[in-house]
Symmetry: C2
Subunit: 365 residues, 2 copies
């Protein structure tokens, strides 16, 4: 194999394919890229057995071929290259030579025999949405996935399509985060759970440009994301997700509207008093047009009065301030609305059209 | 005690005094600032028993007084304050109240009885130099202090004043880094070793403005830095530093001049091949107007020809590329000169006027 390409194209491809390279493993092939030169493109493939990535970039291919090379070494060499052009070649014994300017790297590659290629299966119809929207939806919900591997299903996010609506949700048994958008047309019903790690990695390589789109399709056990010259295929998490609709009863006795920045500054500051030993909640006392926010630890206390607009009954409730901070951090609205039933029922933070719904369980006070 | 001050003044003072607050200790007083309001200033004092700091900022003092408060808590509260003005008060029982906007923090402080105040000793004449110059000298030498506590003296830097010359040096037995400057007048001879940690912390709070100066003075066991409204007093490291002059013989057989960026790119790239298991040196072969740079690891190799200007004999020598990278990173000259005697003698990197001298021991090849 022999090709010449632009350093920046090679680097971009490496950055994307790197997302499916694990840290140190006992299997050297999993630390490698499959590098394949064909036609006028070079394709990099990586596979950590949960997420697989194929990404291509343009190259002047002088000799087609295929080789396996350690991904981190390749990334290091290419990022340090002195020249804008990189020349790559490998021979029948898988010896790899990389040239740039006056520099020459030589490295022993491997044959592609044992490399786990991406599954060749058929997928459902493609759903097309903006990459930016998908990134945003993930960002606004992924913080409440569970990190506990003993309940595997909660380490992923629910992706649910019904008619022309896509709903993404995550929950960790104390809180639920939900984002909804309208799709451009109706699709067949889909309800799957995608690993949180996959969504994180995908977010990192997708564009912030609202005009660039991604195609999403599903098989029984996999989800496929296609965008630009890149394909990412991830395993799904098996099992049934919790019934979210059951949690979303819309009754409330108290509705509070508050300026987000003002509220955020207060709540963020209150988390300073949450030491590892003191796990006291923040106590909210909503009365008339003021919300008293109080927190006490063993040696300190803080309180602040935050102006609110209240509808319904007065209420006193205890909440973990860190969960509120997580939500306020990802909402872009200037005003937010919170809905309460009583001091033992979840607090809802949501907008009118319910494009986002956050639910946080209270702490007994 | 009662005072009102600007949040930014309070924050700046806290940032400086924080440099002498350790992580978790078994002595709560060492995690505290001594806060003292007097006249129209508030003084913060911190002391980690090696480094002590006093820093003052202007305040409207309504009632003079003194109290001890946990430094990290204070830093957290003040940085999150909603308003530009902060009100601080403490009573006879050391209960502290901090107000800003609609927010109120209450915290139990401590009496100042057990706080280790800064030593009240007499110091030598003050040496006055630019803060920027001192920072730069530290930055250009501190990377070669030793991190091994078993040879305590090498965890510090030599500060040596002779006539109107200040010399700073560090060494870790494999390399030496030296920086020299001319002072504005002649001073008494000084030769002390200042802890590396002290120099690091001082660098962080000193100004980048070349016009702002720092006064440095010495006692038998301490060094004092005074700048702006801040005084920092550090213990010195006891013992005799290595005789550096003995190492600085000026004989050389080969002198090589090379473009720094070009050389840096090559050497930095070669460090990629230094894995934990392969400790092979980079081999430099200087011949005519080219330097061949080669490194081999178990599976990879790299070589590059770098154009040089050479005076004297051809030479082949092995060096640890990481040590060269450390030096090239802090030199600002576009061209650098290296001096060699033979392949078993140290490599010198220095400029004509010897305002910097770096010495690196070679590796046998």
């Amino acid at each position: 194999m022999k090709f010449t390409c632009k350093k920046s194209d090679f680097s971009n491809g490496i950055n994307i394919a790197m997302k499916a390279i694990l840290g140190k493993t006992t299997m050297p092939t999993l630390e490698c890229f499959l590098i394949e030169a064909k036609g006028d493109m070079v394709k990099l493939t990586s596979n950590d057995m949960q997420l697989g990535i194929e990404t291509s970039f343009p190259a002047d291919v002088k000799e087609e071929g295929i080789v396996l090379m350690n991904a981190r070494n390749l990334a290091g060499y290419v990022s340090h290259m002195p020249d804008d052009t990189v020349e790559f070649e490998s021979d029948a014994s898988n010896t790899i030579l990389i040239f740039s300017g006056m520099r020459r790297h030589e490295e022993k590659g491997m044959s592609d025999d044992d490399f786990p290629r991406l599954p060749d299966i058929s997928f459902s119809d493609k759903i097309n949405i903006s990459q930016f929207t998908l990134k945003e939806m993930i960002h606004q919900t992924i913080f409440s996935i569970s990190s506990k591997e003993n309940n595997k299903i909660l380490t992923g996010e629910l992706f649910e399509i019904q008619g022309d609506e896509l709903r993404i949700a995550s929950l960790d048994l104390i809180r639920v985060s939900i984002r909804k958008i309208k799709l451009n047309k109706k699709y067949d019903k889909i309800k799957v759970v995608i690993p949180g790690k996959t969504l994180n990695e995908i977010s990192k390589v997708m564009s912030n440009d609202a005009d660039e789109t991604v195609d999403i399709s599903f098989s029984k056990n996999h989800v496929k994301f296609e965008f630009g010259n890149t394909v990412m295929i991830s395993r799904l998490i098996e099992g049934n997700f919790f019934n979210i609709d059951q949690m979303l009863k819309n009754n409330y006795e108290t509705k509070v509207t508050v300026n987000k920045s003002r509220f955020f500054s207060c709540i963020d500051s209150s988390t300073l008093l949450m030491t590892e030993t003191d796990k006291n909640p923040v106590i909210f006392t909503m009365q008339d047009d003021e919300m008293k926010v109080e927190i006490k630890s063993s040696h300190s206390s803080m309180n602040e009065d935050v102006p609110i607009h209240k509808e319904g009954k007065d209420l006193k409730i205890g909440l973990n301030p860190k969960y509120i901070v997580d939500v306020l951090r990802v909402i872009e609205d200037e005003e937010i609305s919170m809905y309460f039933f009583n001091s033992n029922s979840p607090c809802f933070i949501k907008n009118e059209e319910e494009s986002y719904i956050y639910l946080i369980l209270p702490i007994n006070i």
